[in-house]
């Protein structure tokens, strides 16, 4: 008994010593909320690998950001909101200056963290997901729904349908259904689609699928009865491949199914095999494939075996992880220009995001040419881009089948304004005056 007590005491003391390891002062701590387990793991893993590999590459190639080494730590959320909040609390204070920014890759966790980040002064980078109205930086100073929101996606999807039909006037009287993941993630686009339905005169129907989405027979039977002209798919994880299989089972043409950019990666189509051929999905600007940055990744990360990535290298979600990390580190670089080459606090990184200006020349320099078009964030605009393309799965690879579409801001901007005003009223937030921000 005494031995056990002694051992336990020693262990406890050891643990106390371990929890505060000596942190070098010149390190930027970057947390990573990941899900490598659970029903959404097939999609979570490539993204997490991309995020981690880009940081590793910066460390290996350049010695960090302007000489400040990146220290990263992952925390497994399993896509669960309460676990995500726990991870956020665990990681937010680490490193000499605390966490630089968070990217939870979950709309549910984003909603919960949106309430917490203003108090902790840490920006949230929610690239292509999260609150669509957080584009309005005057009300959401800490949220950056960079590159695209669900409302942009919904708008672009309708534009693509209009183009396939041969003009926006042809939408009139058509039927478009949305098969969506029954969570904040899936519900986000509904408002934009309803608005579009009013403007263009098509019939819109929203069909929910319960989390995690492996059971959707009845939804697709309803689609077979209803025979909509197009089906939009807002799924994630195992739900996507199930949807494609069910579409095939009821004989719904796959080339009339258009997924959001979270439903358009390799793990979504490969499980359904040949049944996926013809399925279309939006692109968050970038697609799969190797670009200039991948050569550096191969040289500095893959060949040195410092990565967890295997077959997912250069896949859609891996590339999205790279892009996510690139935006974050470029925001830190922007902040360093103002605050000096040292680890940045969350508040400074926020300034960096708000003044981020990725020009075509800079994107080329970073090796991301062809993956993303120029993007400029500001106090009033935390999204910075409105364009997306459409890709199609040909059975082996994703093929880009469209040019860039630009979301119609005349429809979306009033919605952003209304929704953010409602949020501000509910939370009693006084919006910042963006004309006075430096």
């Amino acid at each position: 008994m005494r031995k056990l007590t002694l051992a336990l005491t020693a262990l406890a003391l050891g643990a106390t010593g371990m929890t505060a390891p000596a942190m070098a002062q010149n390190e930027q701590f970057l947390p990573s909320l990941v899900y490598r387990t659970g029903p959404y793991a097939p999609n979570g893993i490539p993204f997490a690998n991309g995020v981690a590999d880009y940081w590793t590459m910066l460390n290996e190639r350049d010695g960090g950001i302007n000489g400040v080494k990146i220290v990263a730590e992952e925390c497994e959320t399993g896509y669960a909101t309460d676990k995500g909040v726990e991870c956020y609390e665990r990681l937010k204070g680490k490193g000499p200056t605390g966490a630089g920014y968070f990217s939870p890759l979950s709309t549910g966790i984003t909603f919960a963290l949106t309430e917490k980040v203003p108090g902790d002064k840490i920006p949230l980078l929610t690239m292509g997901y999260g609150r669509s109205e957080s584009r309005n930086g005057a009300v959401f100073p800490w949220n950056f729904v960079a590159v695209g929101s669900y409302w942009t996606a919904a708008d672009v999807a309708i534009q693509h349908i209009a183009k396939e039909l041969g003009g926006a006037d042809k939408l009139k009287g058509k039927k478009i259904s949305l098969v969506y993941h029954d969570s904040p993630y899936g519900k986000e686009p509904i408002a934009a689609l309803e608005q579009r339905a009013k403007v263009n005169g098509f019939t819109f129907k929203a069909i929910p699928v319960t989390h995690p989405g492996v059971e959707q027979k009845s939804q697709w039977l309803a689609i077979r009865q209803d025979r909509p002209d197009y089906v939009l798919l807002w799924g994630w994880g195992v739900m996507n491949s199930t949807s494609i299989k069910e579409a095939a089972a009821v004989g719904y043409p796959r080339d009339k199914v258009i997924g959001v950019w979270w439903s358009g990666a390799e793990p979504d189509v490969t499980p359904a095999g040949d049944q996926s051929t013809g399925y279309k999905a939006l692109m968050l600007q970038h697609g799969a494939g190797k670009f200039k940055v991948h050569a550096d990744l191969e040289k500095f990360v893959i060949s040195k075996n410092k990565t967890a990535t295997k077959d997912d290298f250069a896949q859609v979600l891996y590339n999205r992880g790279l892009l996510n990390s690139m935006l974050g580190t470029e925001a830190i670089r922007t902040a360093m220009k103002k605050f000096g080459n040292k680890p940045m606090t969350g508040e400074q990184v926020r300034w960096g995001f708000e003044n981020l200006d990725l020009t075509a020349a800079r994107i080329k320099e970073l090796g991301f040419e062809g993956m993303v078009s120029p993007i400029k964030l500001s106090c009033a605009d935390h999204q910075g881009a409105d364009v997306a393309r459409v890709q199609q799965w040909d059975g082996k690879a994703w093929k880009v089948i469209s040019d860039y579409y630009k979301a119609d801001r005349s429809i979306l901007d009033p919605m952003v304004k209304d929704a953010s005003a409602k949020y501000a009223a509910e939370k009693k937030i006084t919006a910042r005056d963006c004309s006075k921000e430096s």
């Binding site: 643990a15 929890t19 989390h211």
Partner: protein, 373 residues
């Protein structure tokens, strides 16, 4: 030697009927309360590890307190009254969403007249949330008069799925937000906004202390004895003059009330913004496991069970990183599942009646120490 009630004479009925008849228990309770109410804020203020950072308060203590409260609620129903329930998540959700509706104002039009309640402040919202949960709890408790055991569990499971559906589908409950996720109003208590983690912790602590003492008192009084008699043998209880209708429905009402309050706290104090998934069937199981692991029919057990189910995985999750072991998060989270599962199995084999029973055994041993026979 130290834990013995020899010489503690009860000279009045009041002394004989105290909640904690043994002096050492009373002292221990006061020490725990003093530590929780004074010690932790002090340690937090002085930035003493591990209470210095916000992590301990926000990610461990606050959820631990709230889930303990929910476990107390379920323990009243399942542990004391013997009515198996899988609807804890639903009752928590009812508490959360009703509190949200009361906190943001209710407007219902009945055609002839309109019911309009202005936004209430947080305390009445939370308590009314509990009250709504109690009313619904009574409704879903009615089948318990006819069916028992696993069949009743299925009936409460129906409550779980029904309310999952209601809060996802009926947009009125979420004030027509586009995403279905709602944001809790400010925690404004009589003009004072509770915001810092230590204030939030104290708020939860006050709720938990009050309800735990209330529950402890209830279960040793008339009504608690009725519940326990019904649990042990309902026919015998009925023959002795206990009305099953009253006993069972009161257990459902009080249990749901406490779970509703816990749900409102979970949403308002811990999460801040939530979606129905926060109160899914997983939450029901989590709370049921807390009660079973902690010990059916024990208030202390609810706390021990909550600590085990909530804190152990979080602690295990951090061990490899703290020790500097290069294991990927994937492996760690799988290991956590394996170890927690194995521990639960082991515990239920060694002591099927949970931590509370282990605690009692320990107390018995302590009484005889150092001369056990």
């Amino acid at each position: 030697m130290f834990y013995r009630e020899t010489g503690q004479f009860k000279t009045s009925y009041a002394a004989d009927m105290q909640i904690f008849p043994i002096r050492q228990d009373r002292i221990a309770l006061w020490v725990v309360l003093a530590f929780a109410f004074i010690g932790i804020p002090l340690l937090d203020g002085l930035q003493v590890w591990p209470f210095g950072g916000e992590y301990m308060l926000r990610a461990i203590l606050i959820p631990f307190l709230i889930l303990s409260l929910a476990a107390i609620g379920l323990n009243i129903l399942t542990g004391y009254c013997g009515q198996l329930s899988l609807g804890s998540g639903a009752f928590m959700a009812i508490g959360a969403y009703s509190a949200y509706k009361f906190g943001t104002g209710v407007d219902i039009s009945f055609g002839l007249f309109d019911l309009s309640i202005p936004p209430l402040s947080v305390l009445p919202s939370i308590l009314l949330g509990g009250l709504m949960a109690a009313i619904i709890g009574i409704l879903f408790g009615i089948p318990s008069l006819r069916i028992k055991g696993l069949y009743l569990a299925v009936a409460t499971l129906a409550a779980q799925f029904f309310f999952d559906w209601v809060f996802i589908r009926v947009k009125w409950f979420t004030n027509y937000t586009s995403s279905g996720s709602v944001v809790a109003p400010d925690l404004n208590f009589f003009g004072y906004v509770v915001n810092a983690p230590i204030e939030r912790y104290l708020l939860c602590l006050v709720f938990v202390t009050i309800f735990a003492l209330l529950a402890k008192n209830l279960v040793r009084g008339n009504i608690g004895r009725q519940w326990m008699a019904t649990r042990d043998m309902d026919i015998a209880a009925e023959l002795m003059g206990i009305r099953p209708l009253y006993a069972k429905l009161s257990a459902f009402a009080i249990s749901s009330f406490i779970m509703g309050v816990a749900g409102a706290l979970w949403a308002f104090v811990y999460l801040g913004a939530w979606e129905p998934l926060a109160f899914s069937i997983d939450r029901s199981f989590q709370i049921l496991f807390m009660v079973i692991i902690g010990g059916l029919g024990s208030i202390l057990g609810s706390f021990l069970g909550a600590a085990f189910i909530l804190v152990l995985p979080i602690a295990l999750d951090q061990v490899p990183h703290a020790l500097g072991m290069p294991i990927s998060v994937e492996t760690v989270s799988l290991l956590v599942f394996v170890i927690t599962g194995a521990l639960i199995c082991w515990l239920l084999i060694v002591e099927p009646r949970g931590f509370a029973r282990l605690w009692l055994t320990g107390k018995e041993k302590l009484r005889l120490w150092p001369y056990p026979y």
